[in-house]
């Protein structure tokens, strides 16, 4: 296991370098001039060459690309991505404030996705090609097609018109009021969780179907075990590994979903921070958050692989 762990850790390094490289290329080398865009603003007016030169110098954009990239990497390694151009506050301080909100939202969404996907996926597989299967499959397909930003909008409309509930304007910490906090998070988490459950339910169904056809399941049935005992003791354990993997990989998409959910439900998380930063052309913040999301996904993939190897020893030698 130690060798596998080391091998996996080493394999992560080039991906992390690749993540930083891609963000650097998109943000600095892309044809749009950052300084020009910053100075021209929304109005589209052109800035004087002196102003442009000054801003390029200030942002370090006048240096050769390789020097810029090394400086950019050094900032990341030191965990010092600089200050926001909009608020002049250190980016890490702002991220420290907002990250727990996005984390809470993502975790709650994962829990909800499991609560929806596991029962529906297992029942769909056990009752394959019956009305139960068809109903759950339609629910799952609907989750894939319904855009989170639309279901979120409809949910806000429904909650406001039927229950006179509006998303609170400020963030309520769980320390301050756990009840208000859950009330604030449950709706956006439900929206993202349902979207994630759509895929997860299909994977669960597929995995359970596969395991149900194994010889040892037939043996378990032949020795007289009840159907529910076969599923809970023999099928679920073996079917859960791929479900776990997909769920962890989905965390990345949940972060994307958080961008939408936080916007609709006015949650001041990292996703909302990203959208605001783009609208304010706050490039240091944009590149830091994009890299942060990339790194989180890489780390999640690593943890998933390790978890998978722990659950299924065959994976260590693959």
């Amino acid at each position: 296991m130690t060798r596998y762990l080391l091998r996996r850790l080493i394999a992560t390094v080039p991906v992390l370098v690749g993540v930083s490289f891609i963000v650097f290329v998109i943000m600095r080398v892309a044809p749009g001039d950052v300084a020009q865009m910053l100075l021209s603003g929304e109005s589209g007016s052109t800035a004087s060459p002196q102003e442009l030169h000054q801003l390029r110098q200030q942002l370090g954009l006048d240096r050769p690309y390789h020097v810029q990239y090394v400086a950019f990497l050094a900032g990341l390694v030191r965990l010092d991505p600089g200050k926001s151009l909009w608020t002049s506050e250190p980016i890490m301080v702002e991220l420290g404030r907002r990250a727990p909100i996005t984390l809470e939202l993502a975790l709650l969404a994962v829990v909800i996705s499991w609560l929806i996907a596991l029962p529906t996926g297992v029942l769909s597989a056990v009752f394959q090609d019956t009305w139960i299967d068809y109903v759950f499959r339609v629910v799952s397909v609907a989750g894939l097609a319904l855009p989170a930003f639309w279901t979120g909008t409809l949910l806000v409309l429904l909650l406001a018109q039927r229950f006179h509930w509006m998303p609170p304007l400020g963030y309520v910490s769980p320390m301050h009021s756990p009840r208000l906090n859950i009330l604030q998070f449950i709706w956006p988490a439900l929206i993202i969780g349902y979207a994630a459950a759509a895929i997860l339910s299909r994977i669960t169904r597929s995995a359970v179907l596969e395991v149900l056809r194994e010889d040892y399941v037939r043996t378990a049935r032949a020795k007289g075990l009840r159907g529910s005992a076969v599923v809970s003791r023999h099928v679920l354990k073996n079917a859960l590994a791929p479900v776990l993997t997909v769920s962890a990989v989905q965390m990345g998409n949940l972060l994307g979903g958080a961008v939408i959910s936080e916007t609709i439900f006015t949650l001041p998380g990292v996703g909302r921070f990203l959208v605001d930063a783009i609208l304010h052309r706050d490039y240091p913040v944009v590149q830091t958050i994009v890299i942060l999301f990339g790194v989180v996904v890489v780390v999640l993939n690593l943890v998933t692989d390790l978890l998978y190897a722990w659950l299924d020893p065959r994976a260590r030698y693959a």
Binding site: G18, P31, V141, P147, F149, T153, L154, I278, V297
Partner: protein, 315 residues
């Protein structure tokens, strides 16, 4: 999660089975009798009902997009100061928005924008991913190593976040939205086509073509490339729904095609931010349109994948 053709034996089958349409023998000498054609259509409906529903939705969408000018009652840009927030009725079927513009006409014209962006992004993204995957899988070694590490990194970003980063750097307009969405589609197409190229390069006829003196590039484009067509079609169809959704999400966040262009995502965004409670229809209809389009393409994509890949049927 890749939804297309996977690696291994599956890809190998795509590689070694020659496309039936390339053979003269495979074609029927006379056209199918009408009742046989009807029977085949009925079988398709029985076996792939959701795929047929998806196909019908996609066909309707294409018709609406092509004939938007004739179907829409009014000019989608026409502002009517005295007709703001009119509820749906006989004059304005889907009501009017904050500028008094006809929501129905804007939704109809939005189909054209969504399809334009979706098709362009899928063509660019899937083709680039396929080309890079083809080169990566065929040449292998260092080329493969470098390309695949870049793809690993590209896959690390959540789709929407990557698209947002591109729009942030380039600015929000139609070509940039296409580039942003296309970039997010590259890695999956790359992986799938790479796996096909990897297995095809091991086949005897590729070895024979090389032995006969064919250059690497000639072998690549003449012998390996045609085998990647089926997975390309599967990935492209499956990606269309994803691309339309990504474009709508960018529009919803105010970072898609700029107003007053009638794009579904930005129509929804305007409604949510300003007048959702006053005129819910302004959010309702663009949302239904997005959902139907994504549902249609997803179902059609699933059916095409099942037809080209029977192993995945019913899963």
């Amino acid at each position: 999660m890749e939804r297309g053709v996977g690696d291994g034996p599956l890809a190998a089958r795509h590689a070694v089975v020659p496309p039936p349409e390339s053979s003269h023998l495979a074609r029927p000498a006379v056209p199918l009798p009408r009742h046989r054609a009807r029977l085949t259509a009925w079988r398709l409906v029985r076996r792939k009902p959701m795929g047929v529903v998806g196909g019908v939705i996609v066909c309707l969408l294409v018709v609406v997009a092509v004939f938007a000018g004739s179907i829409a009652q009014y000019d989608p840009y026409q502002v009517r100061a005295l007709k703001r927030f009119q509820a749906p009725g006989t004059v304005f079927w889907f009501g009017t928005d904050d500028f008094g513009r006809d929501v129905f006409s804007r939704v109809v014209h939005g189909a054209r924008i969504s399809l334009e962006i979706g098709i362009a992004a899928v063509f660019v993204g899937t083709s680039m991913g396929a080309l890079v995957g083809l080169i990566s899988g065929y040449f292998g070694r260092r080329t493969d190593l470098v390309i695949q590490r870049i793809m690993d990194a590209l896959m690390a970003f959540p789709t929407l976040v990557l698209a947002l980063a591109v729009v942030a750097a380039l600015g929000a307009n139609l070509p940039n939205v296409i580039v942003a969405v296309a970039l997010t589609l590259i890695p999956v197409a790359n992986r799938v086509v790479r796996s096909v190229a990897l297995s095809v390069r091991q086949t005897d006829y590729v070895t024979a073509a090389r032995t006969l003196g064919g250059s690497e590039w000639r072998v690549l484009f003449v012998h390996v490339l045609p085998n990647c067509f089926a997975p390309y079609v599967v990935i492209a169809t499956a990606n269309l729904g994803t691309a339309i959704l990504a474009e709508a999400a960018l529009g919803f966040l105010g970072l898609g095609v700029p107003p007053p262009t009638p794009a579904w995502g930005s129509m929804l965004s305007g409604a949510t931010q300003g007048y959702l409670f006053r005129a819910p229809w302004t959010a309702m209809y663009p949302g239904v349109a997005i959902t139907l389009a994504v549902f249609g393409f997803n179902m059609l994509g699933d059916a095409i994948r099942d037809v080209l890949d029977p192993r995945l049927r019913g899963r």
